[in-house]
């Protein structure tokens, strides 16, 4: 670092010499690209005609570094995936950093390096950004906001309005890994697991899927906060169709199931950060699964259920013993419990 200090100070957000040094030596150095390099107030990006998809999200996680990733990787994947599930090829991101005074510089550097690596993996660039510093105690270490633009070009999902009974509900892999990895990394609970976050950028997988079944994909969503159960409810709410899921077909890693049982957490509502839920017309299901399974991020893709006529607007789980259970929208964040 040009000024030799190893932690973030208020002056780093002041807009003066130290801010410029931080932007130049850390952010520009890591994210270097022609759109960012001029460091103008806005980045210029060339797009061909057509539609742009635009999304934003803010990212907070504790602990900031967890098995399988960190806040930086999360911030890139989250926005890339929101573009990808619309069928948009991600082309540019912004990155806004809110830093707590006293944040160790090596931690910030490793988060930024994570972002650089993830961007390279996807082929997307961070073209503009911002840095603010708040007083010690003003926030918990670091928050990151990313906004992203992507190019929409066919083949695209046909949309929720085209979903109809008989359609198949697929997932790209085991669920709840991210949320349970973060929970198990909370040292005060003192569990020892090898659960890793599934945090990953999904554009490559989704691009391949859309190409393989160009008219077959109705709707996609990545089950982040609130998990699979929430995404299903988002699809079904207020519609003239319902959803039926087979409990035995919903994939969870054994370790994730075990920790969920022990802590009294329902994994249906636990976040993923590298999975996609895909609704396809029935004739395309087999090819869709084969396509996903041939991709490293989709090896364990599977069908979990289907769209049904009724009960309309509801999500119903058929349990292993042949009973049914309604899957509602969850209420808030689940806490580890002993009762």
């Amino acid at each position: 670092m040009s000024d030799g200090r190893r932690e973030i100070l208020l002056a780093h957000g002041g807009g003066g010499r130290m801010t410029h040094a931080l932007v130049r030596d850390l952010f520009l150095h890591a994210f270097d690209n022609p759109a960012l390099a001029p460091l103008e107030d806005a980045a210029r990006i060339d797009v061909t005609s057509g539609s742009i998809a635009f999304t934003t999200d803010s990212f907070v996680v504790s602990p900031v570094v967890f098995p399988g990733g960190d806040l930086g990787k999360l911030a890139v994947c989250g926005t890339v995936n929101d573009l990808a599930v619309c069928g948009a090829r991600p082309i540019a991101l912004s990155a806004g950093f809110l830093l707590e005074e006293g944040l160790p510089m090596p931690l910030l550097e490793s988060i930024v390096a994570s972002m650089r690596r993830t961007c390279e993996e996807v082929g997307v660039k961070i073209v503009t950004g911002d840095t603010k510093v708040v007083e010690r105690g003003g926030l918990d270490q670091i928050f990151i906001n990313t906004a992203g633009i992507g190019v929409l070009a066919p083949p695209l999902p046909s949309g929720a309005a085209t979903v109809r009974p008989g359609d198949c509900i697929l997932v790209s892999g085991p669920l709840a890994d991210h949320g349970m990895a973060v929970l198990s990394a909370r040292n005060e609970l003192r569990f020892d697991t090898t659960i890793e976050s599934d945090c990953a950028p999904l554009w490559d997988l989704i691009c391949a899927l859309l190409a393989a079944v160009p008219n077959g994909v109705r709707w996609m969503r990545d089950p982040t906060r609130g998990g699979f159960g929430t995404v299903l409810n988002e699809l079904a709410a207020g519609r003239d169709f319902g959803i039926e899921i087979e409990e035995a077909a919903v994939p969870f890693r054994p370790e994730v199931r075990a920790l969920s049982e022990i802590l009294g957490i329902d994994p249906l509502y636990v976040a993923c950060e590298g999975r996609v839920v895909v609704v396809v017309e029935p004739g395309s299901a087999e090819l869709a699964l084969a396509t996903m399974r041939s991709h490293p991020l989709g090896r364990e893709a599977t069908q979990t259920g289907r769209i049904v006529c009724d009960p309309a607007g509801r999500v119903v789980l058929r349990t292993r013993i042949g009973g049914t259970r309604i899957v509602e929208v969850p209420s808030g964040e689940q806490l580890p419990r002993i009762c």
């Binding site: 005060e188 013993i321 009973g323 049914t324 259970r325 009762c339």
Partner: protein, 372 residues
């Protein structure tokens, strides 16, 4: 073959189907039957595995007061919050408790305002916390029934043995058998059988419930938590109802013995003694709570406060008006009967105790979409 770990054998769909057929057959010979499952974990299990929908039409399963979080009085939360406001006091608690509403606030809200709060999975984890900061006082919020109280008792014993003076307990544990007495003495309650708690029974033993059959003439079955366990328990109760002979049976014999866990009961007895206790929604039930024994007075968190203030906080603690939790906890009303259910009272903004814990009856109904 046994599958004691994941209980695979006790999840077997074929066994479940068979038990369901048998339940149907017995139920056909009976009038309308009401069973009460006492334990919140059973409430959740009945919903989670989809067992409720598999039961015959003339069988109703209602829930009882077996949610220790739900029945913790508002005053206890208010006292915990008051203790947290003391300089150098850390509250140590199970995760279940941090969102429970007190009269004005909750532990979670107080944490956002600067109160020091540590969530742990095990009471034993409070020991290294206290050892690491001898100048702070750590107060463990002791909530839970007979399954949990011995673990808190062990924590106290270890603190004594290892010379850790700065760890105290806010004792709010409750006992199940006195609550059953109160329930079964309530003339408004009509139940034909009790599904008895599984894990409380590991500690207490199945013999602890003999009074249910002998005094109140109601059959009871100690039940496990897998689908086969639940259905087996229901079948046992229906068969006893059909035969007219109320007994206490143990359908969780792989975990529960007649006499219970001797060591756990011993440490419980060494550290705690019964006292009268208020249950949120039910009122005062004699000898239904646990207080630290006199020789452990120095472990009592309330001794950190002025007795007058403890009395005042207890007196002034107030619950929200208008909710039916009292009746719901006694099984004389169902969550959808409550005008607040799902509208004003939701898991995110719980009004009454039945909604505060994810095992509370109203919270379970809400989560599983019942009555919405």
């Amino acid at each position: 073959m046994i599958g004691l770990d994941a209980g695979a054998a006790f999840n077997d769909p074929a066994l479940c189907a068979m038990l369901r057929d048998r339940i149907d057959a017995v139920a056909r010979t009976l009038p309308r039957i009401t069973l009460m499952e006492v334990c919140g974990t059973h409430t959740d299990a009945f919903f989670r595995f989809g067992v409720r929908g598999l039961l015959p039409q003339n069988l109703r399963v209602i829930s009882g007061p077996g949610c220790p979080v739900c029945v913790t009085p508002t005053a206890t939360i208010d006292l915990a919050i008051r203790l947290a406001a003391e300089r150098d006091v850390h509250i140590v608690t199970f995760g279940d408790m941090i969102r429970v509403p007190g009269s004005n606030s909750s532990l979670e809200r107080e944490r956002a305002r600067g109160a020091r709060l540590d969530v742990v999975y095990s009471p034993i984890d409070a020991i290294p916390l206290a050892r690491a900061e001898p100048q702070k006082t750590f107060v463990f919020l002791g909530v839970g029934f007979e399954t949990t109280a011995p673990t808190v008792a062990m924590m106290i014993e270890r603190a004594e043995r290892e010379g850790i003076p700065n760890l105290r307990v806010l004792a709010a544990h409750k006992l199940v058998p006195p609550a059953l007495h109160a329930l079964l003495s309530n003339p408004a309650l009509r139940v034909d059988g009790l599904i008895l708690p599984g894990h409380v029974s590991v500690i207490l033993g199945s013999d602890a419930y003999r009074f249910v059959a002998e005094r109140y003439r109601i059959p009871g079955t100690v039940c496990g938590f897998e689908p086969v366990d639940l259905l087996r328990g229901v079948l046992d109760l229906l068969e006893m109802r059909a035969s007219g002979v109320p007994r206490i049976t143990n359908a969780y014999a792989r975990a529960v013995s007649p006499e219970g866990n001797r060591r756990a009961l011993a440490v419980l007895d060494a550290v705690f003694e019964p006292e009268d206790a208020v249950w949120r929604g039910l009122g005062m039930i004699p000898a239904s709570g646990l207080a630290l024994r006199p020789h452990l007075h120095h472990r009592d968190a309330l001794a950190l406060l002025d007795p007058g203030e403890v009395d005042r906080i207890t007196r002034e603690a107030r619950d929200e008006e208008g909710c039916l939790c009292g009746e719901i906890l006694c099984g004389t009303a169902l969550p959808p009967d409550c005008p607040l259910f799902g509208a004003v009272c939701t898991p995110e903004s719980p009004v009454g105790p039945c909604m505060v814990s994810s095992e509370g009856t109203c919270a379970a109904y809400f989560k599983y979409g019942e009555g919405r």
